[in-house]
Assembly symmetry: none
DNA sequence: TTCTCCTATGTTAATTTCAAACATTTTATT
DNA sequence: AATAAAATGTTTGAAATTAACATAGGAGAA
């Protein structure tokens, strides 16, 4: 039996049983535990399995048990309706700035059929969505936030200070009718503020579930915005409170 | 902090970084390694993570790796072998610069299990691959090249002039044993040159099919490189010609 | 309050596993 | 046949794991 054949057998055995231990493999293939260990190191590098203490497990066996319902799947119809409305309001030839986030990601998806637009973003997920389009896309650069895709940091800020665009679409995780728009870190709100300064107009995009939440660091008051697009799942009283602060569109969303 | 809250925090931290070690968690939550270990046992039973030797990994981090889908590009096995070799040569704690391209994309995929590395790239596809890792990733910023994913332009160049890294991994489309490394546009070769200047060492990564091709704009001569990793599908005469110009590793790629 | 029980955590020691270095065998190449 | 390269085994010290026991801190009852 060749080493590569043995590794293939180990791989299929791991996938079949979900779990193996080194002692067992050592006996099964009549090789020393050290050799098995070396095989497992190679197979782990290829992503075929995950090494554990004393053995290895199949990555697939556990992924089936933990279905990750990410927040991306929440309020999709609302986000879609909001971003659709936003796209309609972008004139040909405009330069726009897109915040990081799932709502703006939807917006980017709706943008890919447009042309003659310059789109600037600090989110690599948005950039990836637009890479196959005819859009002129500019990425700010900066430190990549793990598991998120946003770019932040001094480099991002420096770039934002050097540009000017027609419109900024702001995403938000927390909106309070009195405290305004807030974000979880100083860093994020700093970048959002700079984006507002770089833009002629700022429009807030957020589904109504974000309302009545407060986070740590203030971005701006609702009065500072030029517009707000959200869905219609808000009470009359809320509508009144919002509309007296900012020009708002309540789109139908689900 | 209650035990259950700590476990939730551990869970989200594992999912955020993809990988944690016990010592690190012990310090982070100010509890003994034994307590962390007990937490990890519970969380593993819930399928929230997979315990490894010395820590735990997120089950999700491995589903994204899926080394089974990338059949679209040519010479996958060669590229994989080349990037594997390259990864082995990166010391812990290093800062590296990754060129845009499919070979460096493979390299990025092999890097996601590493930590304590700073990785700088001008390709959003590479950045996307590394977003769920524990790596410190920095994106250069610049104009997005449609259908490619590379970032180029004045902004990219300005950033590259402001940094210094330990090692640069250069990808290439055309290598000639006399003309050296060339690229199709002035813009691209300019960025590559700046990357070389920003790095202590430059290593060329390219499968052997790239040899004996010339493109428009010169990047560098083979002698300017500190190393070259390619596959072994080259003739003896070629080996001789290459080796007298640059330190080279010919990895097995079939 | 004071006592008791129970959970959570820390500590220690013994066991197991891991990883590095070196030695040996096998395989491939010239 | 000679040599190099790859694969495997062995040894050894370091590291992680586990189990067992000890301690601290609440929650609830008398």
């Amino acid at each position: 039996m060749t080493p590569s054949q043995r590794r293939k057998d180990i791989t299929s055995h791991v996938h079949a049983t979900g779990k193996v231990d080194i002692e067992q493999l050592s006996e099964m293939f009549h090789v020393s535990p050290m050799t098995v260990r070396r095989d497992l190191v190679l197979l782990e590098q290829d992503g075929k399995l995950i090494r554990t203490h004393g053995g290895a497990v199949s990555p697939r066996s556990l992924t089936l048990e933990t279905p990750f319902i990410s927040k991306e799947t929440k309020h999709v119809t609302e986000k879609r309706a909001i971003s659709k409305k936003a796209v309609q309001m972008i004139p040909e030839g405009a330069s726009i700035l897109l915040d990081s986030g799932t709502t703006t990601l939807e917006l980017a998806r709706h943008l890919v059929n447009r042309k003659d637009l310059t789109v600037i973003t600090n989110d690599i997920n948005l950039a990836s969505e637009m890479v196959n389009s005819a859009l002129h896309v500019i990425v700010t650069g900066g430190d990549l936030q793990n598991n998120v895709g946003a770019l932040l940091g001094a480099q991002t800020q420096e770039f934002l200070r050097s540009i000017h665009v027609d419109r900024f679409f702001l995403g938000a995780h927390a909106i309070d009718l009195h405290a305004g728009v807030t974000s979880p870190t100083l860093e994020k709100s700093m970048v959002k503020k700079l984006m507002m300064e770089a833009a002629e107009e700022t429009w807030l995009l957020a589904d109504s579930s974000k309302i009545h939440h407060k986070a740590f660091s203030k971005v701006c008051a609702l009065q500072d915005l030029d517009g707000f697009i959200t869905d219609d799942r808000v009470s009359k009283e809320e509508v009144r409170l919002i509309e007296q602060q900012v020009k708002t569109f309540f789109v139908e969303g689900g």
